[in-house]
């Protein structure tokens, strides 16, 4: 393999890591609070707000029901506004983040739902405020579940980012389509797939490790 090709592969890998990393980070920063809100505003929860809960639920579901490939092209004007362009890895980060936020939120909501209600009750009996319950009880107790959710998100983002590559987003998906498919270079296709497999395995292993460290069950 030529060194030019090797450079191309390395650059594509770093681009994919960049897209996944940036969108994953922003999605976590916004999705975790959204997931907490989804959970605590439910009827019967510490900040029960049935109307807010319904609205958040609907918005989150809309975000989750649009197929990523549609979302990507549908929000191009918004992407231009944020990233200044609609092609390249920075542009790809925008739809990736938008798709991941509701995904993270629902997984976080699910993780919080696994916290035994008795723990919240115990905290209430100690005079904890709703904010203290979220910070001191719900989030730490759901830590393992939240990390699991974030791992799933990152793995999903790897595959979404490949899709983004197909429409000019760069990264390994782009490489696979242009060289592997359009130029019919089976070697490149194979290497692309192999790198993606290794990447996903790596993220999963890291996630599992963090969950084990977080859980004392």
């Amino acid at each position: 393999m030529s060194s030019a090709m090797l450079n191309l592969i390395i650059k594509a890998t770093l681009d994919t890591l960049y897209m996944v990393g940036v969108s994953g980070l922003i999605a976590a920063l916004l999705g975790v609070p959204l997931g907490v809100l989804l959970y605590v505003t439910r009827p019967g929860q510490v900040l029960a707000q049935p109307v807010v809960s319904r609205i958040l639920g609907i918005v989150t579901n809309i975000g989750r029901s649009v197929p990523f490939i549609i979302l990507m092209v549908a929000i191009i004007p918004f992407t231009r506004m944020i990233a200044g362009t609609s092609i390249g890895i920075n542009a790809a980060v925008v739809p990736l983040t938008i798709a991941a936020i509701p995904f993270v939120a629902r997984l976080v909501e699910g993780a919080l739902n696994e916290v035994p209600p008795g723990l919240v009750e115990a905290a209430q009996s100690m005079g904890a405020t709703p904010y203290q319950i979220i910070i001191k009880v719900l989030l730490p107790e759901a830590r393992g579940g939240i990390i699991t959710g974030l791992t799933i998100t990152v793995v999903t983002l790897v595959s979404y980012s490949a899709m983004a590559g197909a429409v000019g987003g760069g990264g390994l998906g782009d490489l696979g389509i242009r060289y592997g498919y359009n130029r019919f270079d089976p070697m490149i296709m194979l290497i692309t797939v192999a790198i993606l497999v290794v990447m996903v395995q790596g993220f999963q292993t890291l996630g599992d490790h963090l969950v084990r460290k977080a859980d004392h069950k």
Partner: protein, 347 residues
């Protein structure tokens, strides 16, 4: 210390409304251990959860340490809850925190500094005998140890009242005993007022000073523990007691019991001896003095804390006059006598 006045709790509204508590009045004086016993679904849990407003009563007043909790806004209620500790059937420890940090939690909630927290937590761990487990996680502990941590945690904010919601129901008998001893110890050492709910008579027998019986949301009976074990006032109370003591007439006899005496029947009685009567040979004297024969069907001696209670089921055999006289004799000697029924004399 705890006073519930006319407390009711209703879930839902309209025809589907379920009434979990009906006009409950309860007073637990400072420093006492008060038990509330009842079958599952009787409203025990709702009752104890109304004391710290985990459940808001639909009507009535709840006073703890002279403060009406039903009237408090949320922030003041949270302050008041610092003075009310609570422990639970399933311990409710945070799995993500060590033993030490579980006990520290209520103090963190009160924004205490970590040095001050340490000063409080360490003696508490010593009190419950878990100093060596401070850095372990709840998953590494046994049920009894978990409940000890929960007790230490409940005491951290120096409450005046401790609420125990079926605190020993998930524990084996031996562990139950050690937890009850710990609660009694705390009650004596710290003068802590304890309200506990349970479905186990053993718990009431071991540590409670007074006991209330709850049925279908109503507090149907309240008595000193000694009186309750001698002579419960209600049918449910007797059922609880008989099930606990396993003191029933033999099956064959129950079937033959008649409510009213006939011309040729013997009374079957349940006798409860208290105090001096336990150590007096009353039965043999009775036989000698009244001339009736006493056939003992069941008997046992129970220790209720520092008191002794004798219980017996016996058939009094003799003529109607003689057996009446015998009953009068027993009552004169301060025994609690209950006629369970009458059986036909053997032909």
């Amino acid at each position: 210390m705890i006073r519930l006045s006319n407390v009711s709790k209703t879930y839902g509204s309209g025809p589907s409304a379920v009434s979990a508590l009906k006009n409950v009045d309860l007073h637990v004086p400072h420093g006492s251990i008060h038990g509330v016993i009842g079958l599952s679904g009787a409203g025990k849990s709702t009752l104890i959860r109304c004391v710290n407003m985990l459940e808001r009563p639909s009507a009535g007043r709840v006073e703890v340490d002279g403060q009406d909790l039903t009237a408090l806004p949320n922030d003041r209620l949270n302050q008041a809850r610092h003075r009310i500790g609570m422990i639970f059937q399933h311990f409710n420890l945070l799995a993500s925190r060590t033993v030490y940090r579980n006990v520290a939690l209520p103090l963190e909630l009160m924004h205490m500094k970590s040095a001050a927290i340490r000063e409080r937590v360490e003696p508490l761990l010593e009190l419950v005998g878990l100093t060596d487990k401070a850095d372990q996680y709840p998953a590494q502990l046994s049920g009894g140890q978990k409940q000890r941590v929960a007790i230490a945690r409940a005491l951290a904010s120096r409450p005046k009242v401790l609420l125990c919601d079926e605190a020993t129901s998930a524990l084996d008998p031996q562990t139950t005993r050690s937890i009850l001893e710990l609660l009694q110890d705390i009650n004596r050492k710290l003068g802590l007022t304890i309200l506990l709910i349970t479905h186990e008579m053993e718990v009431v027998k071991s540590i409670c000073h007074r006991v209330g019986l709850i049925s279908d949301g109503e507090l149907v009976e309240e008595a000193d523990v000694g009186d309750f074990f001698t002579a419960p006032a209600t049918r449910l109370g007797r059922e609880f007691l008989n099930a606990f003591l396993q003191l029933e007439p033999p099956k064959g006899l129950i079937d033959r019991l008649e409510e009213t005496p006939g011309p040729r029947t013997h009374p079957v009685v349940r006798l409860a001896f208290r105090g001096d009567a336990v150590s007096t040979p009353l039965i043999s004297r009775l036989a000698r003095e009244s001339g009736v024969d006493v056939s003992i069907l069941q008997a046992k001696v129970e220790s209720i804390q520092d008191r002794t209670l004798g219980l017996m089921i016996a058939e009094l055999i003799g003529t109607a006059d003689k057996t009446d006289e015998a009953l009068a004799y027993l009552e004169r000697h301060d025994l609690h006598v209950e006629v369970l029924g009458h059986v036909q004399r053997d032909a």
